[in-house]
């Protein structure tokens, strides 16, 4: 069961319909404050955000590690948290999981402030750390058994659940192998399984795809989307800008500050100031370009080459017919006119540069992949 998107304008991913039936057999998580007798969560009211971060600043020493973070994450969305190395992603996750307390502002997770003492909250989220932090000397199953016991799962229920999760993350064959002898990708999957064992409605994953090959990264995102489709909420930090497109919403963090927060398409628009339409014509004259620039739907025209210009418009779908009509009226034959979709790398760099310029920096210390 897929959850309702957080934003009505949020586009659905094309591959969402092609997602395979979920392997996780526990069914959709139920997300209320209480555990059912079977150990399942009961869903919270849909209007209650899973995560609320209100003007949160975290200082360590005299340094602001994160500053004035303000966002919400609602049930059933994948919230991507993207930023260069050292930008404050892990600190933010630590604030959300209760490892850190905010210096200023408030954090609420599933309606309550997370802290070490709020066990009932901690029992309801899963955490996938950045690195493999389980025990290399134990087998895959023993590691999962330990992780399940940490969440107080009784031994009788635990075995069945571990078997399910081993199959879900495709580690069934490797269940009796010692963790230090499995590949890095498998270790990441052990971590993922460990974070899901107690069937949490909310999952925090700190750079889950860092350092793994693109094929495995793709599989991870498939699994995250499956989890999202079951109604779980995922807060995922990543350095890989290209992974933005797998998220429902993306927050971009730079030097501890949230510099953008939108859907992936919204981000692109934010970065470029709207949609972009590339026009190629052998008949382009300065007068024709000036005419185009005077159109109300066009914000700006930039020449690319002698026969090509780039038009920045509010909305490409509405602008393209107006642009064509104007060019035809001016006897310009159009060789090509199409919406230009820059890569998220370009979007990200653009966002970084804008923030850098706004802060009067050169931006040379941004290291996102």
């Amino acid at each position: 069961m897929a959850a309702a998107p957080a934003d009505n304008n949020m586009p659905r991913k094309p591959d969402r319909e092609t997602v395979e039936p979920p392997l996780i057999p526990a069914g959709p998580p139920v997300l209320e404050g209480e555990m059912s007798m079977e150990g399942e969560f009961v869903a919270p009211p849909s209007n209650v955000p899973m995560i609320e971060v209100n003007h949160v600043t975290k200082k360590i020493g005299d340094r602001n590690i994160v500053e004035d973070l303000d966002f919400k994450v609602v049930q059933g969305e994948i919230f991507g948290f993207i930023g260069p190395s050292g930008s404050g992603k892990t600190t933010t996750i630590r604030l959300l999981t209760g490892v850190y307390g905010p210096t200023e502002g408030t954090v609420r997770v599933m309606g309550v402030a997370p802290s070490h003492t709020s066990r009932r909250v901690q029992e309801r989220f899963g955490y996938m750390p950045q690195l493999f932090v389980l025990y290399p000397n134990l087998t895959v199953r023993e590691n999962l058994n330990f992780a399940a016991a940490l969440y107080g799962m009784n031994p009788f229920r635990r075995k069945r659940r571990i078997d399910e999760m081993l199959r879900f993350v495709e580690l069934w064959e490797a269940r009796n192998r010692v963790a230090e002898n499995v590949s890095g990708g498998m270790q990441r999957r052990i971590e993922l399984a460990a974070s899901l064992l107690h069937n949490p409605p909310l999952i925090f994953a700190d750079e889950p795809t860092a350092g793994i090959d693109p094929v495995l990264r793709g599989k991870f995102w498939d699994e995250f989307r499956r989890l999202r489709d079951e109604g779980r909420t995922l807060f995922i930090s990543t350095q890989y800008v290209s992974e933005s497109e797998y998220c429902d919403r993306v927050g971009v963090i730079r030097k501890g500050r949230l510099i953008a927060l939108d859907t992936p398409i919204g981000l692109r628009r934010t970065a470029l100031g709207g949609d972009v339409v590339d026009i190629m014509s052998n008949d382009l004259t300065p007068e024709a370009v000036a005419t185009l620039a005077r159109l109300p739907v066009v914000k700006e025209i930039r020449p690319i080459s002698r026969n090509e210009v780039r038009a920045y418009v509010q909305e490409a779908g509405a602008a393209i017919p107006a642009l064509l009509e104007t060019l035809n009226a001016g006897n310009c034959s159009v060789n090509r006119i199409e919406e230009y979709k820059p890569s998220f790398d370009e979007v990200f760099i653009d966002l970084m540069n804008r923030d850098s310029q706004a802060r009067g920096e050169d931006g040379s210390d941004d290291e996102a992949a």
């Binding site: 901690q122 750390p129 389980l134 290399p136 107080g152 009784n154 010692v178």
Partner: protein
């Protein structure tokens, strides 16, 4: 109830995890069980409790008829010393000592008799070249023993010569007896002048005999300060008091005889009485002299020998004596190392962060680890005790050390559990002040070294300066060794204070670790 159950499940996670981690490391299991056993086993078959034989070069005076054959000196010194050679060149011998080619150089003094006759002690130099203070003290003590033995032999030799000289005394006594008989004969024949002459001969001899007997009495009574002279068991024997009384009476009796015979008409009865009195004195002298001659000269030189009787319930071998201490020391070390490394590893692996976002509390983590280490090390201790105590052998080859366990097993296990409890607490404390595994190992090794020196393992606590003993009493092993020795070797109950001290140390270190770990856990 559910929450309580979950607490148990979470703490139990660490018990299972620690057992699995130990199980997954066969080398660790081997080192945990076989390591301590092998150490004890090798110690048992290897340690003989004997100080090695010392080699010696004997330097004799160049003049004098001294033997140059080492075998002659070897017979004198026994098995403690190995006489390498005999030389008259003291410098060459000392050079060899400096090169550590020998342990001792013993220099026989020249003109011994002249020095002693002159009233001074003869100096007997013994040179050694030793930096080990224990061995140095041992050689010094051995030198003292040898010199005492030489003194004893010298005294015995002198006493022997005295006994030979006592033969002259007896000849003098016989002569005096003959003179008395002659006095009697002359008196019977009415020859009073001749009788007087005979009596004067007796007076001349009596002073020499009296002096010799007095000396013998002094030698034989030299320990009167400590012991009263025993009454003689043989009625014919004369005790020293009677001998000394006769000695002081003899001159009076001889003088009285002479005085009587000097009278113009000596009274026959008086003369007979005087003669009987002198004869009685001489009988006592003779018996005393015979007694003196019959005494072993060594007894005269060293009248006492010690008889030490051990009232302990068993005659413990070195292995048996050290086994409880080794067991406690190894258990403490393993407990500290395992506990310290376990917690540091959680930190370096990053699992602490996982714990911090999970519903697990520091109490559950520490109590789970406490329980797991108690179980693991308790199992190790149990196996080691069985291997140590049973007389297992295959074809006569011993597989166990045969260490006695005289006391109650329940008390023994309680003491071991408390040692483990306190040691694990100390290990956790070390983990809270260590930033890396190498630091934890280093600190554990420092505790081991401290334990060897300050726990009473080798050196008794009384030999330490009292303020330094505070270090001893901060170590679980100190109380553990004392408790286990009492239970295993004496079959008794350890002082409750020892067990309470272990409980206190475990609680103290545990609380300290909990406070520090809790602060680290909740930092943020």
């Amino acid at each position: 109830m559910t929450r309580l159950l979950k607490r148990f499940i979470r703490a139990g996670a660490f018990v299972t995890k620690e057992f699995n981690e130990v199980r997954r490391q066969p080398r660790l299991v081997l080192s945990l069980i076989l390591g301590p056993f092998l150490i004890l086993f090798l110690f048992g078959i290897g340690y003989r409790g004997e100080t090695g034989r010392l080699s010696a070069i004997v330097v004799t005076p160049a003049t004098g008829n001294y033997s140059q054959n080492p075998a002659d000196y070897q017979k004198l010194v026994g098995q403690q010393l190995n006489v390498l050679s005999v030389t008259t060149d003291e410098k060459a011998a000392v050079d060899r000592l400096k090169k550590q080619e020998t342990d001792l150089v013993v220099v026989v003094p020249a003109n011994v008799s002249k020095q002693i006759s002159a009233g001074s002690q003869a100096r007997l130099p013994v040179y050694f070249n030793e930096v080990d203070p224990v061995r140095r003290d041992w050689i010094t003590y051995l030198t003292y023993l040898y010199v005492s033995e030489i003194n004893k032999q010298t005294l015995a030799s002198a006493a022997s010569r005295g006994q030979e000289s006592a033969g002259d005394v007896r000849t003098a006594i016989v002569r005096m007896r003959n003179s008395l008989t002659a006095v009697e004969k002359s008196m019977a024949q009415g020859q009073t002048t001749e009788a007087g002459q005979q009596a004067r001969n007796i007076q001349g001899s009596s002073s020499n005999v009296q002096l010799a007997v007095g000396l013998m009495s002094e030698i034989m009574a030299s320990n009167n300060v400590i012991l009263k002279p025993p009454k003689p068991q043989d009625p014919n024997q004369v005790n020293l008091a009677q001998g000394q009384a006769a000695s002081s009476r003899l001159s009076t009796d001889v003088q009285a005889l002479n005085d009587e015979l000097s009278k113009p008409t000596p009274d026959q009865n008086q003369v007979r009485q005087r003669i009987d009195a002198v004869r009685s004195d001489l009988d006592k002298f003779d018996k005393l002299t015979q007694q003196f001659q019959s005494i072993n000269p060594l007894v005269l030189a060293a009248p006492f020998y010690g008889v030490a009787e051990n009232k302990a319930p068993i005659k413990a071998s070195f292995t048996s004596y050290y086994a409880p201490a080794v067991l406690v020391l190894l258990l403490q070390h393993i407990a500290i190392t395992l506990a310290a490394l376990s917690m540091v590893r959680e930190r370096t692996l990053g699992t602490v962060e996982l714990f911090r976002v999970s519903p697990t509390s520091p109490t559950e983590i520490l109590s789970g680890k406490y329980l797991s280490f108690l179980l693991i090390l308790g199992t190790v201790a149990g196996i080691l005790l069985v291997m140590m105590s049973n007389n297992l052998d295959i074809g006569g080859f011993p597989l166990s050390l045969g260490v006695p366990i005289l006391g109650d097993w329940a008390v023994l296990l309680l003491a071991l559990a408390l040692v483990i409890f306190a040691s694990v607490g100390l290990g956790f404390f070390i983990s809270t002040i260590s930033k890396s595994e190498s630091q934890a190992v280093q600190l554990s090794m420092l505790v081991l070294l401290t334990s060897v020196f300050f726990s009473g393992f080798f050196l008794r606590l009384e030999t330490l300066w009292p303020p330094v003993q505070a270090v001893s009493y901060a170590l679980p092993v100190t109380y553990g060794i004392q408790s286990l020795q009492v239970v295993m070797l004496r079959g008794g109950l350890p002082e409750p204070a020892l067990l309470l001290a272990l409980l206190f140390l475990g609680t103290f270190f545990g609380l300290l670790s909990f406070i520090r770990f809790n602060r680290e856990f909740r930092r943020g």
